[in-house]
């Protein structure tokens, strides 16, 4: 099964998205298809042996839209030196154009620039440059134009066009409204010149209105082309409603002109050009505001994309060369000066510094980096100069992965969206039926044609499914984007929705609740040796050990700046400990078993040993010359934020469980420390998923938080898998939510964000439905029948535009989300 993302062009409302989805869904071999109106993206899972991408694109085209594969095409403008005539430019064009992956190349001899569009997956920039060199010319420093800019340009162009169309419509609609409303509403006191008096010069009056409405109809031509085409395809959309409503008003007004022309002056009262004009103007304004707001919903991703620096300083032959980031290769040694951004992912090879990774992890405290530490592209080098070796470039960097994750999530649909989708799909045809029936009913009840027509237009115009289609995706876009800002990467709409239903959270112990790195917690001596000396000897004995407990003792001594002693004979006793000679003395360091076997008397420290074990710590005995010298207790310490996070989860009414392979005593000690409700101890890695299943069997929505490979099955089994960012790739793959930091406070943040987003979606859906539920009966004249008000089509258009804008504005409120501190 293959999954591909396509960009779908030409959709104007949720009904269009549904139509495209239906068209592709019908194809044999398509397992799942999902079209997101807000992001204009189609995600399709299909059997590549049965179906090709071309066939999918053709199905979308048949539905009236255009689908294009999401190729991350890049455009560069390479200044080329050495060209002396137009033929040289042609030669460069030929040389570059021959390369596979180059979409287009245009060399301008006058500006000495080669503008090349290429697919970086197929051809590298260095290959393009090489081709120019081979052709006999010199490529100079590149002016880069990336996908962010292109996308931004496209959106800006769309917004600009909509604004222009709105302005043109408004310029003509305002006088049109003035002329039309003046005689209709005398108390407004709007004066008309004598030659435009509707009762004296009705035809001229009507023609002036016609002239004024034509530019407005042209500005709104897209509603007609798209709307009527959709009707012809029997999948009417929002544009169809607008096209039908305004066309009805326009055509009836043309008929009125004809009647005026043959002497029926009364038809001057039946002109509805201003209705058509003002409706189009208001909807254009609504579309403009919608485009502006939609742009703002994807600001998070733009912010992420904008994080990457444009250039990197690479050390080549001991020289510092600044090159575009696209040209950085794995293995390059990169110099980063204080204050500069880390260009790609890598490993520090020289120098030490502190790096601000907050833009990626949300962690506000800069992290110390020394030789061997990993650095992440787009983070900011604070103090020292460092050199690092590039390990991941381009789409492999952590930033690129995050962007992809967020993009995929923003393009995904939450189950709650399905309801809106179903409603949208049946909405437009239903509205047509309601509009026709209401108009017919009024006409048959004895009302005039004009009255029935206004009812027909008002129903068509107010019943816009646009707000319905925007309600869910916009909130998800803002919600997931906001999560990314705080280092909480939510992989999809479904995850976002399910998260707020979580009733039980299972935390893996090691590395999740605890640091996952044992530390020396207690040192007890018998009196024959001082505390520091005991630690110094133990650390010297364990120096070079790969055992986690041994490493913990060495780190403990290093922390206290204790020097290591010279070792004599060394003997590792598997499952027991070690035996070494220091300064001629025999040292034993290990568990109780080792001491018992060597007949070391332990009575003196028996109580301490029991106490430490009950606290979940591992006591390690040390004997010097067959005499017990002391105990060094080692334990995996809990993270600073664990207790606070669990407290917060309790406040949210969530039960917290801990799962571990440790013995019950140790597990319970940790659980007590952080306030865990339920302990699942001595669970083998392969059984973790089963334990989660058991909890789910209790009818609860269960989330699992873990970091290791062994947590992956449990993460997958849980309703929501939450992987700690510092964990393994496998864990992150299996999870629904990835926390960029190791801070457990991000778990309640994720739930809080999910709750806020779902609440926002519900509000949006409420408003979208409320507009239609209240608007349609009002427009249909239901209230009028009982002596209430009737809706003027112009106000219907205003209300309809407002519905989309209010839904988007509400979604944007999520941008103010702040996690619980």
């Amino acid at each position: 099964m293959k999954t591909e993302n396509l960009k779908v062009f030409g959709m104007t409302c949720a009904a269009c998205a549904k139509a495209a989805e239906r068209a592709v869904g019908k194809l044999d071999g398509v397992e799942k298809v999902n079209v997101n109106f807000a992001t204009e993206k189609m995600n399709v899972a299909f059997d590549a042996s049965k179906l090709s991408m071309e066939e999918i694109k053709a199905a979308v085209a048949k539905a009236g839209y255009e689908a294009k594969e999401e190729i991350e095409t890049k455009e560069v403008a390479i200044p080329v030196a050495g060209m002396t005539c137009a033929a040289c430019a042609k030669a460069v064009e030929r040389a570059v154009g021959k390369l596979g992956g180059v979409e287009s190349v245009a060399v301008n001899f006058a500006t000495e620039k080669a503008v090349i569009k290429y697919n970086p997956k197929d051809v590298r920039l260095s290959e393009i440059k090489q081709a120019i060199i081979k052709a006999g010319y010199t490529p100079l420093e590149i002016e880069n134009k990336n996908r962010v800019d292109e996308d931004k340009e496209r959106k800006e162009k769309e917004i600009k066009t909509l604004w222009l169309k709105f302005v043109v419509s408004a310029i003509f609609s305002i006088p049109l409204l003035y002329i039309a409303m003046g005689p209709m509403v005398p108390w407004l006191g709007w004066k008309l010149p004598a030659w435009l008096e509707p009762m004296n010069f009705p035809l001229l009056y009507a023609l002036v209105e016609l002239v004024l409405v034509i530019p407005v109809m042209i500005a709104g031509n897209k509603f007609f082309t798209v709307g009527f085409k959709a009707i012809a395809r029997r999948s009417p959309n929002m544009d169809s409603l607008i096209a039908m409503g305004t066309s009805a008003a326009f055509l009836y007004s043309l008929y009125s002109i004809y009647r005026i022309n043959i002497g029926d002056f009364m038809y001057v009262d039946d002109l509805y050009f201003e209705t058509a004009g003002v409706i189009i103007t208001l909807i254009l304004l609504g579309k403009y505001l919608e485009a502006v707001s939609k742009g703002r919903t994807s600001e998070a991703i733009k912010k992420l994309m904008g994080l990457a620096p444009k250039t990197a300083i690479v050390i080549q032959d001991d020289k510092e060369i600044e090159i575009p980031i696209e040209e950085v290769e794995v293995g390059d040694i990169i110099l980063v000066k204080p204050g500069a951004k880390i260009p790609v992912d890598g490993e520090v090879v020289e120098g030490h510094t502190t790096i601000d990774e907050s833009m990626l992890t949300g962690e506000s405290i800069p992290v110390d980096k020394k030789v061997g530490d990993k650095v992440i592209g787009a983070s900011i080098n604070k103090h020292g100069s460092i050199k690092f070796k590039a390990t991941k470039v381009g789409s492999d960097t952590a930033l690129a992965q995050i962007i992809k994750l967020v993009e995929d999530a923003q393009g995904s649909k939450a189950p709650i969206a399905q309801m809106a989708d179903i409603v949208s799909a049946y909405f437009v045809p239903t509205v047509f039926v309601i509009a026709t029936l209401s108009a017919l009913a009024w006409y048959l009840s004895g009302e005039s044609t004009v009255f029935s027509l206004t009812i027909f237009i008002a129903v068509l115009v107010i019943a816009c499914p646009c707000a319905l289609g925007l309600a869910t995706p916009t909130a998800i876009m803002v919600g997931t984007g906001k999560g990314a800002e705080y280092g909480v990467l939510i992989k999809g709409g479904e995850a976002l929705e399910t998260t707020h239903k979580i009733r039980t959270i299972v935390f893996d112990k090691t590395g999740t609740i605890t640091e996952g790195r044992p530390e020396v917690t207690d040192i007890v001596t018998t009196g024959i040796i001082e505390r520091d000396k005991l630690l110094q000897i133990a650390a010297s004995a364990e120096k070079g050990s790969e055992h986690p407990l041994g490493e913990a003792i060495v780190r403990g001594a290093e922390k206290e700046n204790l020097e290591m002693l010279k070792l004599g004979k060394f003997l590792a006793i598997p499952g027991h400990g070690i035996q070494v000679e220091i300064d001629g003395q025999l040292i034993l360091l290990g568990n109780r078993k080792l001491m018992v076997e060597r007949n070391i008397e332990l009575t003196q420290l028996e109580n301490d040993s029991d106490r430490l074990a009950s606290e979940g710590k591992t006591p390690m005995y040390m004997a010097i010359g067959n005499q017990l010298a002391g105990i060094i207790a080692v334990a995996d310490v809990v993270k600073e934020s664990s207790a606070k996070a669990i407290k917060r989860l309790h406040e949210m009414g969530i039960e917290v469980a801990m799962i571990t392979g440790d013995n019950k005593r140790t597990a319970e000690a940790i659980a007590k420390q952080v306030g865990i409700d339920r302990v699942l101890a001595e669970v083998l890695p392969q059984d973790k998923a089963n334990e989660v299943k058991k909890l789910q069997g209790e009818g609860k929505k269960v989330a699992m938080v873990g970091d290791g490979i062994n947590d992956a099955p449990a993460l997958a089994q849980a309703d929501i898998g939450i992987a700690i960012g510092s964990g393994t790739d496998v864990a992150m793959e299996s999870a629904d939510i990835v926390l960029m930091r190791s801070d457990l406070m991000d778990v309640p943040t994720a739930i809080q964000l999910s709750k806020s987003t779902i609440r926002n979606i519900k509000q949006n859906l409420f408003w979208a439905f409320a507009y239609n539920v209240a608007g349609i009966p009002l427009a249909a004249g239901l209230f009028y029948a009982f002596g209430g008000p009737k809706l003027n089509p112009i106000f219907a258009a205003a209300a309809m535009s407002l519905s989309s804008v209010s839904v988007l504005t509400n979604a944007l409120r999520l941008k103010g989300f702040k996690p619980y501190k």
Partner: protein, 226 residues
């Protein structure tokens, strides 16, 4: 580019309208002429030319007259409404209190309301007819000819709220012609408007100077010519 085209198209259409406008689009004027012609034809026996006043006269079956000047530039009085004074005198009219232009002729016991409408010169090809004069009025003094939506009538305003109206389509209207008189000067001269016999005292919707529809009192005297 598209926007430029849009503006260009709009400008062209606007310009086209300006050039083709006015006369050709004046359907009210055009139909006013044809409907007035219908009235003249129906009442042809009662259409005469008053040499003294250089005006055409249309007489109602009751003897009321509407006179319109053959050439506004050649007459001081361009529009005249003439009718029996008795109903007004019986209703309390003190003829000495009538304003200028309102003339009582004791000999004939008739009232004549005289108005100067304009100074326009009317052109004729050959002998002038009553209809030719009316065509000149529509062409040169279009603003005094209007359409009265409520009664489906055309009207010619002679001055001071006084009008002569006729049906747009006589075949569907029982009020073929109507004398419309502003009652205020008569009320000011002592007339009790409710007591004027033969005239209906009624509210009529008209546009005020600001173009707003207002209801005003009028004396109305309609006739069916058929």
């Amino acid at each position: 580019m598209k926007a430029k085209k849009m503006i260009l198209l709009a400008t062209t259409l606007s310009a086209a309208l300006v050039f083709s406008a006015c006369q050709a689009t004046d359907v009210v004027g055009k139909i006013a002429v044809t409907s007035f012609e219908q009235v003249l034809n129906t009442a042809s026996d009662n259409v005469t030319f008053d040499e003294e006043k250089n005006s055409w006269s249309l007489e109602s079956p009751a003897g009321d007259e509407f006179k319109w000047s053959k050439d506004f530039s050649a007459t001081e009085v361009d529009g005249i409404l003439e009718f029996d004074a008795a109903p007004f005198i019986n209703a309390g009219l003190d003829v000495t209190k009538l304003p200028e232009g309102y003339v009582y002729d004791q000999a004939s016991d008739r009232l004549s309301l005289n108005f100067e409408i304009g100074q326009e010169k009317f052109d004729y090809n050959g002998d002038a007819t009553a209809l030719d004069t009316f065509k000149n009025i529509v062409e040169k003094k279009r603003e005094i000819v209007g359409y009265h939506e409520a009664l489906d009538h055309y009207g010619m305003a002679v001055g001071n709220g006084n009008m002569f109206e006729w049906a747009k389509d006589m075949s569907t209207n029982d009020k073929d012609i109507v004398f419309v008189v502003n009652p205020q000067p008569f009320i000011d001269a002592g007339v009790d408007p409710e007591k004027v016999e033969g005239w209906a005292f009624a509210k009529v919707e008209v546009k005020d100077k600001d173009g707003k529809m207002v209801e005003v009192d009028k004396f109305l005297k309609p006739f069916d010519l058929k």
